[in-house]
Symmetry: C2
Subunit: 327 residues, 2 copies
């Protein structure tokens, strides 16, 4: 019997009205965990509001229960508990986070190592592959039946946060639970078609332009690409249109770190870092005020493209060199 969730179950049992929130720019885990938990609490007859400040990305619009998601809560509403899922810091919930979250006791369910335990109850498990895995555990601990609709949402959470079972988060437990969710009705092929095979045509056109900017540095160990504001405007590209582009650069033989410089404003660049093996790009991103995971991180830097590239590539070269000396 999983005792970790006892306090959470107590709150669920005694309460009736719940708010569920997750982070801005929601991806599969944020959306799937939020809706999955909402559907489960509804099964128990509770009054549930799943809230996301930003719109659910189009690729997740197929999720059963997606229509329940709102970006509005009444200013005087009070909840028996507010669940924050997949959210390391309260600020990540969005601009009005304090107004949103301070409407009941906060139950913080997350798998980020960097979670700052902002909840009244905190279930933080860095070994979980996704917040969705923890929702799965919670539902099992509560003996709440996982319907097909819940299974689809939780499968999407696990599937996307493990990069379709490629990343190191793909533990035996992640596989076991994904298999259970498939047995409960989640269809991997149907879901994959929605998540990975429903890109607008312009994504391909934009990709061609971005691939053309590919440059290698440090004897082929660093690969970088650029997206200018001009290009983003021309394609009316939102963030999700360029999602995953940086992985093309990492996929090249010999490349240890891949970089994508995205011009978000005049003289301002969002830099995405992806690494193979043990090169820790969270450290490098942190040194520029950003953060993330060992193999995937990001930061924002002001300056000309030339200077920004020089700084970042210099830092990465240093990191690769010190790694080599350490081995």
């Amino acid at each position: 019997m999983d005792k970790r969730f006892d306090k959470v179950l107590e709150e669920i049992n005694k309460g009736n009205k719940f708010l569920i929130v997750s982070h801005v720019n929601p991806e599969g885990d944020a959306v799937g965990s939020t809706i999955g938990l909402a559907l489960a609490l509804k099964e128990l007859g509770k009054d549930v509001t799943p809230y996301l400040e930003d719109q659910v990305p189009a690729v997740y619009s197929f999720l059963p229960g997606v229509d329940l998601v709102t970006n509005k809560v009444e200013s005087d509403d009070w909840y028996d508990a507010v669940f924050a899922v997949d959210c390391g810091k309260m600020e990540r919930l969005g601009k009005g986070f304090e107004k949103i979250v301070n409407r009941g006791i906060i139950i913080n369910i997350d798998h980020h190592t960097t979670n700052d335990h902002f909840g009244d109850i905190n279930i933080i498990e860095p070994n979980a592959c996704a917040a969705g895995e923890l929702i799965y555990d919670l539902l099992n601990a509560a003996s709440i039946k996982i319907t097909r609709d819940i299974a689809v949402n939780l499968y999407v959470a696990i599937h996307t946060d493990t990069g379709s079972f490629k990343y190191s988060a793909s533990t035996p437990e992640a596989f076991r639970k994904a298999g259970e969710l498939v047995a409960l009705g989640a269809d991997p092929w149907e879901i994959s078609q929605h998540v990975y095979e429903s890109y607008p045509l312009k994504r391909i056109k934009l990709l061609i332009h971005v691939l053309e900017t590919l440059e290698l540095a440090d004897g082929g160990k660093i690969a970088s690409m650029v997206i200018t504001r001009n290009l983003l405007n021309r394609f009316q590209a939102k963030d999700d249109l360029v999602e995953g582009f940086v992985n093309y650069a990492r996929a090249i033989e010999g490349v240890e770190v891949a970089l994508l410089f995205k011009e978000t404003d005049a003289g301002k660049y969002k830099v995405s870092f992806r690494s193979k093996g043990n090169i820790n790009v969270a450290d490098v991103a942190s040194s520029f005020g950003g953060g993330g995971h060992v193999n995937a991180s990001g930061c924002n830097i002001r300056g000309s493209l030339e200077l920004v590239k020089e700084q970042v590539i210099g830092a990465i070269e240093g990191s690769i060199r010190s790694k080599r000396l350490a081995n």
Copy 2:
């Protein structure tokens, strides 16, 4: 207790010298199943020869035991049994298939629906996601310990044949077994880096050219791309360099069938078909003398590019139309 393998186990127990073979143009399942079974039989102290007519693709050269693979067998060698894995027809083993396979009783272990049962013993399970899943079952039935090295090979078989757990072959059983193999030492992230993140730089350059040929037909339901012989020569591209390119076309919103026309010789095209949902491209490919699975198939056609495209796109349009009428 799994009784399906009783006859196979009898042959393994009473024999000492085994040949293991798989198909030409070997992919992850062929390579992983062949080596995985070879390593397991070696654990039992048997004399084992894993044979593949074609070279193991570079992305699989990291597999433990890959050095055991040979493309030569002595002309007068006799084996206690010949295992054919992941091979639907004897001819798929290569040019000298009769000389290779008729060197002992044939044990045919495969998951292709179209397998013609060419073995003396046939273990054909279309529900298995990969031949590697059947090798996993066999080793368990035989109580042969799955070492880390065996686990890596079998994981690669399952991982690649399910498209990294995206295709419909990703059953609960496939997930459960993959999770077991991870627990036994297969590392999903390390393996994914080898399989998907070690492309030569020229793959990206070639990809740009191919993406530029993208055309839509049938109101956006059909997407097609072309690779000319000229381009293949310029990049000295073997088959594995363009592996997966056709998926870019399928990934577009609204596209139901994606096509890649690859000029293999003057006036000769290899056509790859990929579909979403229920459009059966195996049928279409068959009508041109090819074959494959519901969502992935291929054929070879002679003619000018214009005529070949016209014929194939016409056939696909017919198939989409009749599907619509049937629904």
